[in-house]
Structures are given as structure tokens and as C-alpha cells.
Amino acid sequence: MASRRKRSTHARQSPRAPGKRKTGRAGAGGRRSAAPAPVPSAVPRPTPAPGRAAKSDGRGKYVYCIIHSADLRRFGAIGIGDPPAEAYTVPYRDISAVVSDTPGEALDATRENVLGHERVNETVMRSYTVIPMSFGTVFKTDDDIAQLLRGAYEAFRDVLEKMQDKVEFGLKVLWDRDVIVQQIESDDEDIRRLKSEISGQRGSTYFARMQYGRLIETALQARADRYVGDIFEQLREVSVASRANKPIGDRMIMNAAFLVSRDKEAAFDAKVKEIGAIYDKLNFRYTGPWPPYNFVNIRLKLERAREAE
């Protein structure tokens, strides 16, 4: 059974995470752990604005997300910082950035900070479609942010429209290699025969073992490809888009994100559970709903500021 935990980690790799989300493990009985905050895939680096970076008054405006709203709104003291900073909107026409004040010092991508980022996005997401910003995006003033909104207004509007009423789910699939190798041995007669030759053989078994190793590797790869292809295929009809990220570590065979319409959420959920029941040898880690980190790419073109200005 794949139960979803709303909650905790992510991938692009993106920032994810608050503790109140449940993360689900399909195929196992949903253990709950305080999952770590995922690192944003687009992890920006928290750069300190050192004292000599002039013109910095030591404070900045941290940007969490962009929403379709013209309202001046406060979301409460839920932002990054200790104590948590007040999150509020900076509007330009009918779109707004959700921001909070932040000290102009280095913001490491620690779980605590990433959780703060995620906490705001999750809160805002309950009322709005959001375009999430990468962790660590800080501007100097509200005015700078208004300029950002003005400069990329059409693009933000287009992306907001595209993301309207859609959320992201993460699905990571892991396997226990030994268990799969046993399956392969029981399914494949050639491999089984080779293995028994090795164990019954006297003298050097070097070449037989090499050959066995190669066959196993090939079979594992083929099996991973088949499983992953099948899982993507089954989730296609209940999702709008998907993204395959690089698996983390050597036991993960799939690290994917799916963009799902709110009205298909239940169907997506049911499908994931169904898949989890079919592939009972695989470990599914299913999380969400997230803001669509994996489906939005915001790039800022930067130039180093010169002190002469």
C-alpha cells in the first residue's frame, strides 16, 4: 500500500517540507519519520552580503513565491528566521510576490531554513496557485521585487495560468538489490545454471563469475527500465506532466515528479496505491502535494554589481 505522506522531502530537488506533511511509503506500512527537508534542486546559494558589499544595509527581502493576486496580504509570522518573519505580498498589477524580511547574512540551506521556505509556500498554496521560487532568493528592497514582477510580468502570468489548480507529487522508487537478484535468478534459467556451475566448479571460477556479474548487471538494468517505464505509463493518464530526476544513491531506480490537476488528485493517489500493491518488492516514497517546483524554471540573469555605482 502506498500511502502518501504529505510531507517532507523533495527533489528538483526542490525545497520541500514541513513536518506536518505525511510522506508515504508504498509497499511498506507507512512509517512516519521526521523527514529532512529536501534541498531545492535549484539550490541557490545563500550568499552573504559581506559588509564591504557596500550599499547593503544588512537586510533583504526573501522571496518565496509568485501568485495571481493584487491584494496586500499578510500571512502571519511563518517565514524564515528566528523568530519567524512575517510573510506578506508585494504586488505589481494583478500578480504578487510573497516575501519576508531577512537579515542580509548567509542563509544556509539547512533543514530549518528550507522548512521555513516550504512552510510559507504551503500556507500560500492553500489559497492560491503558486510559482515557487528556489530556496535562497533575496532582493534588496520591495521596490526591486516590484521591478522583477514588472520585468517578467507576461512570463509569470503565462506560467501561473499553466499551473492553475495544479500541484506536484513526488514519487521515488527504491529497491533492495539482493531481493531483485534473487528474483532474476529464479526467473532466468541461464543465470541460474551459471550460478550453480560456479558453486560446483573446482579451480578458478574467475571468468564464470565475471560472466555472471555481467549478466546480472544487464538484467538489473533491464528490470529497472521496465519497472520505471511501466510506472510512468500507468500514471500518465492521471497527471498533466512528469519529470524524471536523477536517482539519489544506488538503490533508487526512479526519482520523479508529477504535475497533477486538483480534480485528479484522488485518481492519482489511487493509481499510486495500485502500483504500490502490484510492485510489492519495490519501496515507494510518495510525497505531496507540493508547489510545482519541478515544473517551473525561473532564471534570473545576473551581473555582478560594481562598487562604483
Binding site: A49, M133, V240, R243, A244, K246, L300, L302
Partner: protein
């Protein structure tokens, strides 16, 4: 096909000031360290390491990340660290769209 829909490609001319650029990562090569951090998070999530071990690992990896960034910032560039101008922005949809 990863990028399906390019909603906007550059060409903007506004300029604004920023400290701490979200995109500074473009300028640094810290992929391996970021992957290690993700791997550590996964191990914590899977119960393979304790909370305390995770925190220690996280601190160590973040320190190394900061070193790499500081070093790369320092090379061949005499601008103040961390201060940027944004000269353009683009927002695009990415992903494999299911038609």
C-alpha cells in the same frame, strides 16, 4: 524532451539590485556536494542514520559548499561578493507534458 514550453526567452532590459542571487549556482560547480546532501537526507528518511548524524553531516556538507562558493567567487573577480544586478528574468514551464 525536457523543455516543452518556453514562455519567455530573455530580452528583458530592466535592471535591479539584489543581494544573494538565487542563481549564483550557475556560477559555481557544487553539484557533487548538493547530491551528497540529498543522499544524506534520504538516508535519514530511510532511518539509516540518526537525526544527530544527519545534523553533523549537514553541517559538514554546508560548510564545504560555502567554501567552494567562496573560492569560486574569489577567483578572477574583484566585485563584492554576493551583490548582483538582475538584468533579466525568464519563467518557463518545464517537464514532459502528457498530451
Amino acid at each position: 524532451m525536457i523543455i516543452l514550453d518556453r514562455l519567455l526567452v530573455g530580452g528583458l532590459s530592466f535592471v535591479l539590485r539584489t543581494i544573494q542571487a538565487a542563481v549564483e549556482r550557475e556560477l559555481t560547480d557544487d553539484t557533487a556536494l548538493r547530491e551528497e546532501l540529498l543522499a544524506a537526507q534520504l538516508r535519514l528518511e530511510l532511518g539509516e542514520i540518526s537525526e544527530a548524524e544527519y545534523v553533523r553531516l549537514e553541517r559538514e556538507l554546508l560548510d564545504r559548499l560555502n567554501e567552494v562558493r567562496a573560492r569560486q567567487r574569489g577567483e578572477g573577480d574583484d566585485a563584492p561578493a554576493g551583490e548582483f544586478r538582475v538584468t533579466g528574468a525568464e519563467a518557463t514551464f518545464t517537464g514532459d507534458e502528457h498530451r
